[in-house]
């Protein structure tokens, strides 16, 4: 008997929804195996990793807090991904958004104006867009591959942050820690639920998901980007501008990542440090694909990804596992998703070996 993969006459719609679920299940299974191999009890490991974080309302609030930047970045990225615009640099755009928005807060330290927060959010978005505009320009003007340029700009952004917090923006009363002053209460996002850290950025993220859904499903521009992504020649034949798709795809990702960045700085982090983001911009790509580039799916997959982050922290505390365990889970999730996606276009068939 042979296992043969046979092309389906049409890609299976069902499989495209089943595939992420299958990937999550496989990730769970291999996670348990991993615990065994590391000499931990799989039951205990599962409990610590996936149940502990959710055992009280504070934990659930933390889950939403961590899901917020993921939602923002993922919905922005998926606008571009749908049009085959591969922005890999959301992490860098997030950092620059955090810098520009946070810079405003630091500069107007003593203001209590009501427009300070909105101004910071807008500045964050603009910062992210500016960073994303560089690969967009290079792609549309010189046909430079945006995957490479946007990724390289992540490292540039990291170095810029590092330089600022070690140098000109370092808090003079901060005992030489590489960080800025804490943001004033006026420059801090309001908490939604007392006793938790969940803040108004969650509302922004949900708003972004809504707008993203309307843009992708109901707007003509979203339609043009879908055409550009699925059949480039058809877009050219219809007279849609391919350059505009690249610009919109990149800028949407940049703006959302920038907002995610400033939301971290004026939310849970409270200042600019070298550790604003534990790789949200990268994890958001996995979130976008597990969520099938669909804002509704992204809502759920960002919660899942947030759980992996929290489980990783728990595992570090209670199981004495290294913090990179959550990266391992992220990697497994993407790996299994890509594997399961094969079933969308192919179906397995057992055939008898022919002589």
């Amino acid at each position: 008997m042979w296992l043969k993969f046979e092309q389906r006459p049409e890609p299976s719609k069902t499989m495209s929804y089943v595939s992420p679920i299958l990937a999550v299940a496989l990730m769970f299974l291999s996670g348990l195996l991993l615990f065994v191999v590391l000499g931990k009890s799989p039951v205990e490991g599962f409990k610590v990793f996936f149940l502990n974080p959710l055992k009280d309302s504070y934990g659930i609030a933390e889950l939403f807090l961590k899901a917020t930047p993921l939602m923002l970045c993922a919905v922005g990225l998926s606008v571009g991904f749908k049009a085959n615009v591969w922005n890999i640099g959301a992490e860098g755009q997030l950092l620059i958004g955090a810098l520009v928005g946070g810079g405003i807060a630091l500069h107007f330290e003593h203001t209590s104006s009501a427009i300070l927060l909105p101004a910071m959010v807008v500045a964050g978005a603009l910062g992210g867009m500016a960073w994303a505009a560089i690969p967009a320009f290079l792609r549309t003007r010189f046909n430079a591959n945006e995957i490479l340029t946007s990724l390289m700009l992540v490292y540039v952004a990291e170095l810029v942050v590092s330089w600022l917090v070690h140098g000109p923006w370092m808090d003079p009363d901060g005992f030489n820690f590489p960080q800025t002053k804490l943001l004033s209460p006026e420059a801090t996002l309001p908490i939604l639920l007392t006793g938790t850290r969940v803040n108004a950025a969650l509302l922004l993220a949900i708003g972004a998901l809504l707008v993203g859904w309307i843009f992708m499903n109901k707007s003509f521009m979203g339609y043009q980007m879908k055409v550009a992504g699925q059949a480039e020649h058809a877009g050219r034949y219809a007279g849609f501008s391919a350059k505009r798709s690249v610009w919109i795809g990149m800028l949407a990702g940049g703006a959302m990542a920038g907002i995610a960045g400033i939301a971290e700085v004026s939310g849970p982090v409270g200042q600019i440090t070298e550790h604003i983001s534990p790789g949200y911009g990268f994890a958001a790509m996995i979130v976008a694909f597990v969520g099938r580039l669909n804002p509704i799916g992204i809502f759920f997959s960002s919660l899942l990804m947030a759980l992996l982050y929290m489980g990783g922290e728990q595992a570090q505390q209670y199981l004495a596992l290294p913090s990179s365990i959550s990266k391992v889970f992220q990697g497994m999730l993407l790996f299994f998703l890509l594997g399961s996606d094969v079933f969308i276009n192919f179906r397995p068939r057992f055939i008898r070996r022919r002589k």
Binding site: P9, F220, Y223, V227, Q230, A234, Y237, A238, G239
Partner: protein, 517 residues
């Protein structure tokens, strides 16, 4: 015509069946070819001709059935094995490396030691013997399509095949070149080579072939001796009904010039592309103008220039209804009332994975389908349903994906979408290429009706028969230049055929003297 002699069939196939996930391509096919016989395999696109030939040549393995080669049951697992048995095949789409010379290309397919000088001599020998002139040292990219086909045939002949398969060999040839090819094939047959000749062109089969097997929907629907049949009876076997007739309506009430091309020169950036030289053309309201020509003579480049996919440096060279549009992109040209039907249906004319409603939006969105940047899906859906009904598109409804439609139905849909936008100018490339006879005649009739309503129609096609059926005037494109135009009624296949090789009166003085006829 001579009849084959020997008693043992060169090839007999019995009960060949090949099933693909979506369709049954071959369903119990029987066929027998005698030595020295030219055997036609006749059928419309999608009838299963190509699949059958690929089975014989070892490209595809059949699910059921038997191949009997000179009396022995054989399995042919791959083309190398087929060649070893003595089967050669010339594909419809050539498999030559453009950046290599003729002899290098041939050497790649010939087993044995690699001696280019000796091989060149053999190529020249074969090419002289069978009247297939080609210079072994020339680079393939510099050859015309006809010459490339000769290279493919020579490459087969060098292996002394006893069965030669030709898949739609004349679709890329001028009528004169077709005649030369037939002479070669007759000579081969007289030397005992069997030939399987795949085509959907009835007149050619009548002229050339000893016997014919007709396929429809993967099944044999009949076999006959073409010389004893009429095109009508063969057509009935092929399509199951009579060939369509057209109602032409009145001619000669052309109105104002809708599309004007003035001294268009466009160098190509593609090293294998064609440079357009001094092209002049006018298309008037209420007429159909056809551009004939062997493919690869600048049709693609001219289309891009007209559609705006390649905006031009000089704004003045293309005028639409008196407005200079050379600088405008396709979207802006469409806004002025120009519509296009591209050659490629899936992937250019329609997005495969989108529904028909969504594919309507691709070009017809100006028909009230947008509101403040948002899509009015209701309007688009009604337009799609209307188009499906008016143009007899057989499909599962407006929500079917474009790729689920057959080639003919998708083409009807695309033509319908463009016509329903009431274009001032409609440009079509290969409007019925690969489309079954029923859909072709429907499309041609729609174009004739559109002409009646005053649209200026420009058709670029490689099918001369089609151009003569529907066009009022014809021009020929060859090597990037355009011939003078002639009224269809005042010329014939013979003359246009000569022009297709670039030899029209005053061919050196480029440019069209408008309305020579």
């Amino acid at each position: 015509m001579q009849t084959p002699s020997s008693d043992t069939p060169r090839l007999a196939i019995r009960g060949i069946r090949k099933v693909y996930p979506a369709i049954v391509a071959n369903d119990g096919i029987d066929l027998t070819v005698m030595p020295g016989e030219i055997h036609a395999v006749l059928g419309e696109n999608g009838a299963g001709k190509s699949t059958l030939m690929k089975v014989i040549y070892g490209v595809i393995r059949p699910d059921e059935g038997e191949l009997i080669w000179e009396g022995q049951s054989v399995t042919i697992p791959n083309p190398a094995q087929a060649r070893e048995l003595g089967i050669g095949m010339v594909f419809q789409h050539f498999s030559l490396f453009e950046t290599l010379s003729v002899v290098q290309n041939v050497a790649l397919a010939i087993p044995g030691e690699f001696d280019l000088a000796a091989l060149s001599l053999r190529i020249e020998e074969v090419s002289q013997r069978y009247g297939l002139p080609v210079d072994p040292r020339r680079m393939v990219h510099a050859l015309s399509v006809g010459e490339r086909q000769r290279v493919e045939i020579i490459r087969c002949l060098l292996q002394n095949p006893r069965l030669l398969i030709l898949d739609e060999p004349t679709s890329v040839l001028t009528p004169q070149a077709v005649r030369k090819l037939f002479e070669t094939l007759r000579q081969l047959a007289s030397e005992g080579v069997s030939i399987l000749y795949i085509s959907h062109k009835l007149d050619e089969i009548q002229e050339l072939c000893h016997t014919a097997t007709v396929l429809r929907n993967g099944k044999v629907t009949g076999s006959c001796t073409p010389s004893q049949e009429s095109p009508k009876t063969m057509a009935r076997m092929m399509i199951g009904e009579d060939l369509p007739a057209y109602s032409h309506g009145e001619t000669g009430h052309e109105g104002e010039v809708r599309l004007r091309i003035v001294n268009l020169c466009q160098p190509t950036e593609d090293p294998f592309g064609t440079t357009l030289k001094n092209i002049n053309l006018e298309v008037r309201s209420g007429e159909i103008v056809g551009i004939a020509g062997v493919s690869g003579n600048g049709q693609q480049e001219l289309l891009k220039a007209i559609s705006g996919e390649e905006p031009l440096a000089d704004n003045r060279v293309i005028e639409m209804c008196g407005i200079q549009v050379g600088h405008l992109n396709p979207g802006k040209r469409r806004a002025l009332g120009m519509c296009f039907v591209p050659e490629e249906r899936l992937g250019r004319g329609a997005v495969p994975r989108l529904t028909l409603t969504e594919n309507i939006l691709l070009t017809a969105y100006r028909k009230g389908m947008l509101l403040g940047g948002l899509i009015r899906f209701g309007v688009a859906k009604r337009f799609a349903e209307d188009c499906i009904k008016r143009f007899d598109v057989r499909c599962g409804g407006a929500n079917s994906e474009a790729k689920s439609l057959s080639g003919g139905n998708l083409q009807k849909f695309i033509v319908g979408r463009e016509i329903m936008q009431d274009p001032k100018v409609l440009v079509l490339a290969q409007p019925t290429w690969g489309v079954d006879v029923g859909a072709s005649s429907f499309i041609r009739q729609s174009l004739l009706d559109l002409r009646e309503s005053g649209t200026a129609v420009l058709v670029i096609s490689e099918e001369l028969e089609e151009l003569f059926e529907i066009c009022d005037r014809l021009v020929v494109i060859a090597k990037g230049t355009l011939s003078p135009s002639k009224a269809t009624t005042e010329t014939g296949v013979e003359e246009i055929g000569i022009w297709m090789s670039g030899m029209w009166p005053d061919a050196e003085k480029s440019g069209e003297a408008p309305h020579v006829a």
